[in-house]
Symmetry: C2
Subunit: 206 residues, 2 copies
């Protein structure tokens, strides 16, 4: 059947979209602007458009995240509330109690959900929350028909970690200190994402 | 010296305040209206009033909480963001890097921070977040001079648990099912709070 990849992000990155399209011409890649901090009703509206176009959606990957403990409200809104609201919205289309076909949710959390980087306590706590939420979702699968697992990357050399604010500036060098630990490249990280997605195991914590 | 207990809550409960006053006439009990979901600046303003009046504050107990997974934003705002913001605001008065005297933070989290009640995944995740945040605070004590510990009650027979909404109504009987487990009275719970507060151990998880 036809294969579709829908990218939702606040800002379109045409270069990245073009690269994705070139990688596998059999996959139709579409972009929609989406900010995970919008009210659930707006997410529902966007999902209606997407489901109407694609007929079925198999997998939702919640990957939005920010790392900046000067921005308390925004950290919580993006890393935690955004994942909850996007998940809540898609349940209307997937929930087997409503005649839906079920689905799969892959939430990108973080190892800091288990072991906090305590200099960014708000970020770490938001990831602990996303992880706990994902584990609960997995346990609800018999009721909803929607399975879930979490992917918890370690320190990955993304632009996110080069420089970021600690809570109340408790450690101005937190970014540098972090990179003294073992790190992975974004490619290694992505390859492990693919393994997790192919394994597709409800309740898994990668 | 003079002993003060300041109660902050959304709604004043004069009967409860009167009971507290009668229990120990040596303690001055004061009430201020406070909603933990207000912006940090408002909290700072209230704390300025309180610190000006009392000169010193030794202990902050973050105890606001709601249990209703129909209210996603409010659950996160009260149970997680409220604790973070109130803590962030009091640091201005306590942080030893600013010449402050330090202080103690006791956060009332929940056993669901460790083991979720998966039928209320948003509530459980908000508590996992509050717990993670508290543990990070404790590790920051050498920098800030502010110590912290969490108190994690099990199922307590408060009005909160008699009837509450599960996420997307996945389990309408979750309140009843919960009370089939071992529970404690509010008195037992409070007595254990006192033990934890007297022990006053940085990083403890009660």
């Amino acid at each position: 059947g036809p294969k579709n990849l829908v990218i939702l992000d606040r800002i379109e990155n045409p270069t990245a979209i073009a690269e994705l399209k070139a990688l596998n011409p059999k996959v139709t890649v579409t972009f929609y602007p989406y900010d995970v901090t919008v009210p659930v009703a707006e997410t529902t509206k966007l999902l209606k458009t997407i489901f109407a176009k694609l007929k079925t959606v198999d997998l939702l990957i919640n990957g939005a995240g920010i790392l900046d403990d000067h921005q308390i409200e925004r950290t919580i809104a993006v890393n935690f509330t955004g994942t909850v609201n996007t998940t809540t919205a898609i349940m209307e289309f997937w929930d087997k109690r409503k005649g839906g076909p079920g689905g799969v949710i892959a939430n990108i959390c973080s190892v800091t959900g288990f072991n906090a980087i305590y200099q960014v306590p708000v970020y770490s706590a938001s990831k602990a929350a996303a992880l706990s939420f994902t584990n609960s979702l997995a346990r609800l699968a018999p009721i909803t028909g929607v399975t879930a697992y979490s992917i918890n990357p370690g320190i990955t050399r993304t632009p996110l970690v080069h420089k970021f604010n600690s809570w109340l500036d408790v450690e101005p060098r937190v970014g540098e200190l972090l990179l003294e630990h073992p790190t992975q490249t974004t490619l290694e990280c992505a390859q492990n994402f693919v393994k997790a997605i192919e394994a597709n195991q409800n309740g898994a914590i990668w």
